[in-house]
Symmetry: C2
Subunit: 201 residues, 2 copies
DNA sequence: ACGCTATGTTTACGACATAAACATTAAACG
DNA sequence: CGTTTAATGTTTATGTCGTAAACATAGCGT
């Protein structure tokens, strides 16, 4: 039987070239339209045009593939936050970073869940992306070097936006843009007793 | 063949009596030692001493069984919060309710996740348990009837504790009791610009 | 007493994750 | 260059899963 190769110059090699990233890409693409629990290793392999067991040449099991996808997702989330921080002027950076966080979650629900379900655990110290590190540094400075307080503020802010994102994803509160703004309100949150909003970095 | 019944008076009837709650109970018990994704309908049925397909006489599918379990879990969470609110004196009720929320999540990780993954969606209005309603009413009063502001405070508080619980469950921040207290700190959160902590209900 | 309907069981099917054995090809080494 | 070898694919097989369909039993209203 004559193998009719595709007309394109892309020589259909037995070996794939970079199956590992192809699988991660296929998985991330699938996550855009399907929830996490509907992702099957077999489907991802099919999408990548490869047999199911080929996956095991690159990942010890399904979990590891999901972890690789989560890693990539974490990077994308970090990039979204960094962009938001970069584009905002100092007094609004904290709030903008939070808004970017929640918006990313709403735009990529399944991926956002995956990041926190299968992402690497960062025990001990909390994990950071660039934006978070930047914000904490600026907050520390604004708090006259009170690191403990800046740390607390960072965690409180993280918990707030993470909870907001999760509750919206789970349909507990309306995924409404105006509501996001009302919850992440620099004027109402973290106000120092002396007057003036706190993390005005 | 002679059916050797168990010596106990519990006559092994063909019909179960209350299989529905037995299944929910078995599922909840299983969730105490295994994560959600390891829960199989077949295992739950086995634990209840019944064939797998018997489940379908009481639930249309696995999802519905999980939803019933989530409902029961939601009630337990609400009860835990209510107890905390009841036992705390007014100025600390808000914070104690939050602490109870996070403690419940840490004590029942799989159940807590289930509640928010498979629980009923409450679109439009946010869902409440008794404790939340009570707190919001008191906050409204303390804010001289400013309902919008009380609502915002309630949502902010919910997002904060929910995010804290989730991040701890996912191993992003240490599930440490002292840390919970530091994050849920009435003295640092929601402070009104005029002075004095805000939701001091 | 009898039959209807509740609620169970057995059997069957296709999808899944993964293990084991086998096939192909790219790269290392002569 | 040609040969060996390790990397990277495929095929086949196993046991578990959710669920549909057909069948069995028993409790209840008449």
């Amino acid at each position: 039987m004559v193998t009719v190769s595709t007309s394109k110059a892309e020589t259909r090699t037995y070996h794939h070239g970079d199956l590992r990233s192809a699988l991660v890409d296929a998985g991330l693409k699938a996550l855009e339209i399907a929830p996490l629990e509907e992702l099957s290793l077999r489907q991802i392999a099919r999408d990548a045009g490869v047999s199911a067991t080929a996956v095991y040449r690159h990942f010890p099991d399904k979990r590891a593939l999901l972890a690789a996808m989560a890693h990539e997702g974490f990077d994308r989330l970090g990039a979204a936050q960094f962009n938001a921080v970069e584009q905002a002027s100092p007094p609004l950076r904290f709030a903008e970073s939070g808004r970017a966080y929640v918006r990313f979650a709403l735009a990529n629900p399944a991926l956002f869940r995956l990041i926190f379900t299968y992402g690497e655990q960062f025990e001990g110290d909390h994990p950071d992306n660039l934006a978070a590190r930047l914000l904490r540094a600026q907050t520390t400075e604004q708090r006259h070097g009170n690191v403990a307080e800046a740390d607390r503020l960072s965690l409180q802010a993280w918990a707030l936006v993470h909870g907001l994102a999760m509750l919206m994803l789970d349909g507990r509160i309306n995924a409404d843009d105006a509501l996001i703004d009302r919850i992440i309100d620099p004027g109402s949150l973290f106000v120092v007793p002396g007057g003036g909003t706190a993390p005005a970095v």
